[in-house]
Symmetry: C3
Subunit: 154 residues, 3 copies
């Protein structure tokens, strides 16, 4: 078992089959060793694990847990891009985190940390990424979080 796969196993996390895009696009594109991953929602088995707005009923902890699920779904896309071998990941370059939030919510960094800390835990130094985290008015299907990503692979 590879290092990354064994870390995931230690965390009790199984990388799922990637979820189908909601629309007329694809889950990821590979070009010149760069994987561009579509915005991932906190889908588990086809259903959203968390809906609603931060600042209006959804706690930071709930939204951070949803962000980790987005990150797992990102890895599911990258795994396909790598032909199944996560050791081909060279770097998580960027995460773009969108948090559905009310205008008075300001803890977006803590929410997206649910994704960022997961990448660090699973990928080690290769998981140290640039990031933007912002609060948006609403997200597809009323999801609380959406995270997109860019990876370099060998």
């Amino acid at each position: 078992m590879s290092t990354i796969e064994s870390r995931l196993a230690d965390m009790g996390i199984t990388i799922p089959e990637p979820s189908a895009p909601l629309a007329a696009y694809v889950g990821h594109v590979v070009h010149n060793g760069i994987v561009t991953v579509s915005g991932q929602l906190p889908l588990v088995g086809g259903a959203l694990s968390q809906t609603g707005l931060c600042g209006a009923g959804v706690s930071v902890e709930e939204a951070a847990a949803a962000a980790q699920i987005c990150a797992i779904n990102i890895l599911a896309q990258v795994k396909v891009a790598c032909g199944g071998d996560l050791e081909r990941i060279e770097r998580c370059i960027r995460l773009g985190g969108f948090v559905a939030s009310t205008p008075d919510f300001t803890d977006h960094p803590k929410v997206i940390n649910g994704a960022s800390e997961f990448m660090g835990a699973v990928l080690g130094e290769k998981g140290a990424h640039a990031r933007a985290a912002v609060g948006v008015a609403a997200l597809p299907l009323n999801a609380s979080v959406e995270v997109e990503a860019t990876f370099a692979i060998s």
Copy 2:
């Protein structure tokens, strides 16, 4: 006539001259074969074809039509980047779709499909892209949709 141009002709679509940026930036940057296209608004002849928020008067259909216009304006930028020859497009890598929406609107994927389906129809397999679609509080000039893009060209 090239394949892409003939598809556009079949659709009755003319790629316009690219619209001037609203501010201190440029419509696109080419670096190492990657075209980064600035966020495009649904401008037709210099005027917005659709303003207002989804969930507050603008329908999914109206916003999706606006998203297609954003996509046409993206192609206008890419055409310039290609020196006029759209056959130099290797891949639409990513679309970033921003929908001006109220907090209770959740059909952002259907809106941005107006851009995604257009890319697929015009570019075929080269049009299969990664995507993020989110609902933002407001957009420049009260536009209903803004779409940015990344392309690879030869």
Copy 3:
């Protein structure tokens, strides 16, 4: 003194040490000559220079000044990526500008011009970038503006 450093000196601007990320990520990633810079807030000496929403108490001028500070903080990251030599900048490829705004605010381009015009003034032709500017519901720490960036360096 290099051209870029002398322009900054003429403007009376000192590039600060980059601010520490708010969370589990890094300020920038360099891969194959591309610098991806994390979303920068208008932090000066660790404190936000501007908080609140455009359209609800924050003027275009105040927000544009905050956007310039975001741009200075972006250059601080790029300077580290360049080993201290800003002349290694080949191009500012893209700025992504997020403006915390109410749904009826529409002057996002003027706000993000605070960052765009700064890049043009400091970097000259190398500062001509692609851009997206959108209005988001809220930003980390109640910041009024956040700007992320992509640069090419030699």
